[in-house]
C-alpha cells in the first residue's frame, strides 16, 4: 500500500554510539517500524543509543511504549539511552505521561553524544 506519510527512520553508528533518527509522526501506525529499528540497533549492545526526535512533530503512547522498551533493553545491556531535540509538543506528552524524569532527555545531539 502506498503511503508517503510513512515514518522514515535513519540509523547512524559513531564509535560506540548508535543514533536513531525517526522523521515523521510516531503513532500506532509508525511505532512498529521504530521498535524494529531500535531492536536492530541494539543488537550489537552499543554503549550509547541516541534517539534524535528533532524531526518528530507528534508522538503518542505507542511511541512512548517503544522508547520505554528500548530503555529497558539498554539497561540490560548496561548501555545508555539518551533522547534529544524534542519539539515542545512532544515534550509535553513525556510530561503528561510522567516520563520526562525517567528518560535522559537533552537538548542537542552534541550533548547526547558527550553526556
Amino acid at each position: 500500500m502506498s503511503n508517503t506519510q510513512e515514518l522514515e527512520i535513519f540509523t547512524e553508528t559513531i564509535d560506540d554510539a548508535v543514533i536513531v533518527r525517526p522523521v515523521g509522526d510516531i503513532d500506532l501506525s509508525g511505532a512498529p517500524a521504530l521498535r524494529q529499528q531500535l531492536k536492530q540497533a541494539q543488537e550489537t549492545r552499543p554503549g550509547r543509543v541516541v534517539v534524535d526526535l528533532g524531526e518528530v512533530p507528534y508522538m503518542d503512547s505507542s511511541g512512548l511504549a517503544t522508547l520505554v522498551e528500548a530503555m529497558q533493553i539498554a539497561r540490560k545491556n548496561q548501555g545508555k539511552l539518551i533522547i534529544c531535540a524534542l519539539q515542545q509538543k512532544v515534550r509535553s506528552i513525556f510530561e503528561i505521561a510522567r516520563l520526562d524524569m525517567v528518560f535522559k532527555i537533552v537538548n542537542t545531539r552534541d550533548e547526547a553524544m558527550t553526556l
Binding site: L28, Y58, D60, Q88, K89, I96
Partner: protein
C-alpha cells in the same frame, strides 16, 4: 448526557486502521481550533482522541482493521464553552470500570493511554452502547472550571 452541546457539527466515520489516525488528528485539531483552543491544547485534544482510537483498535477490535468507528465533534457554547467529542464503536463491550490507567510508577511499555486521556480531558466517560460496542464521551472546557467536588480549581 450533554445538556449544552449546542452545535452538533461534525461526524467522522473511519475504519479501525492505524494509518487513518493522522486524518482523525488533523480533523480534531482543526475543530478544536475553531472552538477557541490554542495550538498546544489542539494538539493535546487530538492526542487524547488518538489514544482513544488506538485503544479501540487494539482492545476493542483486537487489531482487526475493518471495524467501524464514529467520531462526533461538537462545539459547546452556553455556560461552559468547549468541545465535546463522542467516539462510538461496534467492538467488544466491556465493563467501563475495567478501562483504567495503571500505576505510573511501574515503568513499563503500555498502560499509558487512559492516563493520557484523563490528564487532557475534563470529562471522560465510557458507556456501553445499546446494541453493541462502546461509547466514549470526552469533554474539554475552554476555561478552567471549579471542580464538582467542592474544590476550587485555579483559574
Amino acid at each position: 448526557m450533554s445538556s449544552d452541546a449546542s452545535q452538533p457539527t461534525v461526524r467522522l466515520e473511519i475504519v479501525s486502521h492505524p494509518s487513518l489516525l493522522a486524518a482523525a488528528r488533523a480533523l480534531v485539531a482543526t475543530i478544536a481550533q475553531r472552538c477557541g483552543f490554542d495550538e498546544i491544547q489542539c494538539g493535546q485534544i487530538s492526542l487524547a482522541v488518538d489514544e482513544a482510537l488506538c485503544n479501540i483498535i487494539r482492545h476493542g477490535y483486537n487489531c482487526r482493521d475493518d471495524g467501524r468507528i464514529l467520531i462526533s465533534l461538537s462545539q459547546r457554547e452556553a455556560q461552559l464553552p468547549g468541545i465535546e467529542i463522542v467516539i462510538e464503536d461496534d467492538a467488544l463491550q466491556v465493563d467501563p470500570d475495567t478501562i483504567r490507567s495503571r500505576d505510573l510508577d511501574d515503568i513499563r511499555p503500555g498502560g499509558l493511554g487512559v492516563h493520557i486521556i484523563r490528564e487532557i480531558m475534563d470529562e471522560v466517560s465510557y458507556t456501553r452502547r445499546d446494541r453493541r460496542g462502546m461509547r466514549l464521551t470526552l469533554v474539554k472546557h475552554l476555561h478552567p472550571v471549579a471542580a464538582a467536588h467542592n474544590s476550587e480549581s485555579n483559574t
